[in-house]
């Protein structure tokens, strides 16, 4: 199996994630899609590490996981707080910052 296929997969996953962020309203789903995009990027990093035969890509993948974990904590906290105060999980309802 050609190693380039991992890159294609990464691109497909990233695209799915991006589309999901744009079209879905439920903030949990949007959040999951962001995770999907991060992991697609991770896959690309690891693949490139493999292609170039060094460890930098794999090291960055670990960093990404740490950042993603922090992001999950903060993001979920925000979503839960919004849900508590506004009784909705739709991202379109949280549009108070306009104007």
């Amino acid at each position: 199996m050609a190693i380039a296929n991992y890159l294609y997969l990464s691109a497909i996953l990233f695209t799915i994630g991006a589309i999901g962020v744009v079209v879905r309203r439920n903030s949990i789903v949007v959040f999951m899609c962001i995770e999907l995009m991060l992991n697609a990027a991770n896959l690309a990093f690891v693949t490139f590490a493999r292609i170039n035969s060094n460890l930098e890509g794999q090291v960055i993948a670990f960093f990404t996981m740490v950042v993603a974990a922090c992001e999950v904590v903060v993001g979920l906290a925000i979503i839960v707080t919004i849900y508590r105060s506004r009784r909705t999980a739709s991202v379109d309802d949280a549009s108070l910052l306009k104007r």
Binding site: A18, V21, V91, A94, L96, R99
Partner: protein
């Protein structure tokens, strides 16, 4: 050339006094007029001292200078602020300070009821300082400072009673008309600088033969324009009549004796230019000739005593300007007429002020009549001035005006004939309108229409008038005895290059002049003897109507300059509003519209921000790909 340390004081004293009077405010109300008069008298004293010192020196070292400081020093161009007192300036210094002092004294009484007397004296002192700077400057640039200074003083004094809108407008009119002339003077200075690289009288005179005749003609014409503005000559004459809005002492000092003669001074001072520029000199003759008739004709129809005298001033200055156009011999006669005119016209103006003082500020001569027996001293002194201006021997005007008429005839050819006849005609009309003024004011039936009899003015007013009328009796004889003034001025205005052959002997000219004067006087007596109505007749000839309206000079200016000017300004305003403002406004409108459009992007929806980010990232990647590929 010897130097003198006194010249600065001539200017500094009145300038300083003027500053004190203006800054001290009400505190100076009680002593301001005294200080102003003392300062003016002390400048006269300095002038006399300098005059006698000058007289005692040999002819070639009579002129003195005083360098004050280096004003401009740029490369090879140097202008010093320095003063020059020579045979020509001393005549003016004595006239300005002498007549000025008498008028200061007169004003103490004349303005005694005015709350603003202190301010009046401050302006008078400012005028004396500026006028002295004008005649003492040793270069055109120094002269220009004084030239603007007297314009300012004139503006302030015409509009002294600026609570009346008409007076304020008169002041503005004088200022604007003078401004046109000032443009001429500044252009003349610029051309002189371009031609000679020097603007001092001495430097230009030395190098005058290096300039082309075109350049000299241009300088001459521009100087003539300046003279027209300041001296109320055709076509810039219209301001002088309205300038009579100022207090009468101002009319006597500034608008009769001194400031309006600055144009004559300018041309005489620039004799080295005009002698080499025949076209400019011809223009001087034409302007002088036109104005002397113009002023005289207006003078015949004015009922306002001050305006009649103003028209007469215009006409007499026309004589002087004409004389300056006659070349080397004419300058001395112009200055002589200027000096005698300074005396008799100032005395008549002050006389008119005295009449107004006794008549509750009435200026309409139709409301006068028979004042002679109530105000005998005013009437007698006015009579001396009258005899002087119409040129009856042995009064001053006879000596000075006859000389001009004689020189005009001796110019020879058609030119001499035309100029001679113009001056003769002017003399006849002068005799007519001055007789009219005298008869309407001092003789005939009493027409003032109220019971209060006019009263003679206080001594403080009568003494200056009396002294001036002594001048109007004797000055002509003194100045022309043995051609005193002509020889005195020779070093300044170039010794006579060639002697004109005399086409007409002086006695013939004198007899002719006296003849036409007698005609003028007789016609006036026949017309204005007996009982006069207290209002001007309505059915009058076309010429009288025209003369009453100042020969339509205001209408002409209004039609040719003011209205088109207004149209131009209005169109420029529209262009400014539509094009320039429109451009600026549309720039604003574009950014406002763009902002409004871009604002819709900020809709608060997270998903649309995310979409924009995606699009942006894609665009970035595509760009990098395209660029690197």
């Amino acid at each position: 050339m010897p130097t003198s340390e006194n010249l600065l004081w001539l200017i500094a004293l009145p300038l300083f006094s003027s500053a004190i009077l203006l800054l001290a405010g009400k505190r100076a109300n009680s002593w301001g007029h005294v200080m102003g008069t003392i300062v003016s008298a002390s400048t006269f004293t300095i002038g006399l001292v300098e005059f006698f010192a000058m007289q005692s020196r040999p002819e070639e070292s009579r002129a003195v200078t005083q360098k004050l400081f280096t004003w401009i020093s740029v490369g090879s161009f140097n202008v010093d602020a320095s003063l020059l007192l020579d045979q020509l300036s001393i005549c003016f210094v004595l006239l300005i300070t002498g007549v000025g002092t008498l008028i200061h004294v007169y004003s103490i009484a004349y303005m005694s009821h005015d709350l603003d007397r202190r301010r009046f004296f401050a302006y008078l002192n400012l005028f004396i300082a500026s006028m002295l700077l004008l005649v003492l400057g040793d270069s055109y640039l120094n002269l220009y400072v004084g030239w603007e200074g007297v314009g300012l003083a004139s503006y302030l004094l015409i509009g002294f009673w600026n609570q009346k809108p008409a007076y304020a407008t008169a002041a503005k009119k004088a200022f604007v008309a003078n401004r046109v002339g000032d443009v001429g003077l500044s252009l003349a200075i610029m051309i002189a600088f371009a031609t000679f690289g020097d603007v001092s009288f001495a430097g230009m005179k030395e190098n005058v033969d290096q300039a082309s005749s075109t350049q000299l003609t241009a300088i001459g014409l521009m100087l003539l324009l300046a003279a027209c503005g300041k001296s109320a000559q055709f076509p810039l004459q219209s301001w002088l009549g309205d300038a009579m809005a100022g207090p009468t002492p101002v009319s006597a000092l500034i608008h009769a004796a001194t400031m309006v003669t600055a144009g004559v001074y300018l041309i005489t001072r620039s004799n080295f230019v005009f002698d080499e520029a025949p076209i400019a000199q011809l223009m001087v003759l034409i302007i002088g000739g036109i104005t002397l008739l113009f002023g005289a004709i207006i003078g015949t129809a004015k009922d306002d005593i001050k305006k009649a005298l103003a028209a007469s001033t215009m006409s007499q200055i026309g004589y002087m300007i004409l004389a300056t156009g006659l070349g080397p011999i004419g300058y001395a006669f112009a200055i002589m007429h200027l000096l005698t005119h300074g005396f008799f016209k100032a005395s008549m103006f002050l006389g008119a002020g005295s009449v107004m003082h006794g008549m509750k500020d009435e200026v309409n001569m139709r409301k006068y009549g028979g004042i002679g027996k109530f105000m005998p001293i005013t009437a007698i002194t006015f009579g001396f001035g009258y005899l002087a201006i119409i040129g009856v021997p042995p009064f001053a005007g006879f000596y000075s005006k006859d000389k001009i008429i004689e020189t005009a005839f001796n110019e020879g050819g058609m030119k001499g004939l035309a100029l001679g006849l113009a001056t003769l005609l002017g003399a006849m009309i002068t005799a007519f309108y001055m007789t009219r003024v005298v008869i309407l004011t001092f003789f005939g039936n009493e027409r003032w229409g109220h019971k209060d009899e006019p009263h003679e003015s206080p001594a403080l007013m009568l003494i200056p008038i009396a002294l001036l009328s002594v001048g109007s009796i004797a000055s002509g004889y003194i100045l022309s005895r043995g051609e005193a003034l002509v020889h005195w001025l020779e070093p300044v205005v170039n010794p006579l290059k060639e002697h004109h052959e005399e086409l007409l002997p002086p006695i013939v000219v004198s007899l002719m002049t006296l003849g036409v004067v007698a005609i003028g006087v007789t016609v006036a007596i026949l017309k204005y003897r007996g009982v006069q109505a207290d209002h001007a007749p309505e059915k009058v000839s076309v010429l009288t109507k025209a003369a009453r309206r100042d020969l339509y000079q205001d209408d002409f200016n209004e039609a040719t300059l003011m209205r088109p000017g207004q149209v131009l300004v209005r169109n420029l305003l529209n262009i400014d509003y539509l094009v320039i403002d429109g451009l600026v406004r549309s720039v604003g409108k574009v950014s406002v519209t763009a902002g409004n459009q871009l604002r819709t992007l900020q809709n608060g929806y997270v998903r649309s921000y995310a979409l924009l980010m995606v699009i942006g990232a894609l665009a970035l990647i595509t760009t990098i790909w395209v660029v690197t590929a």
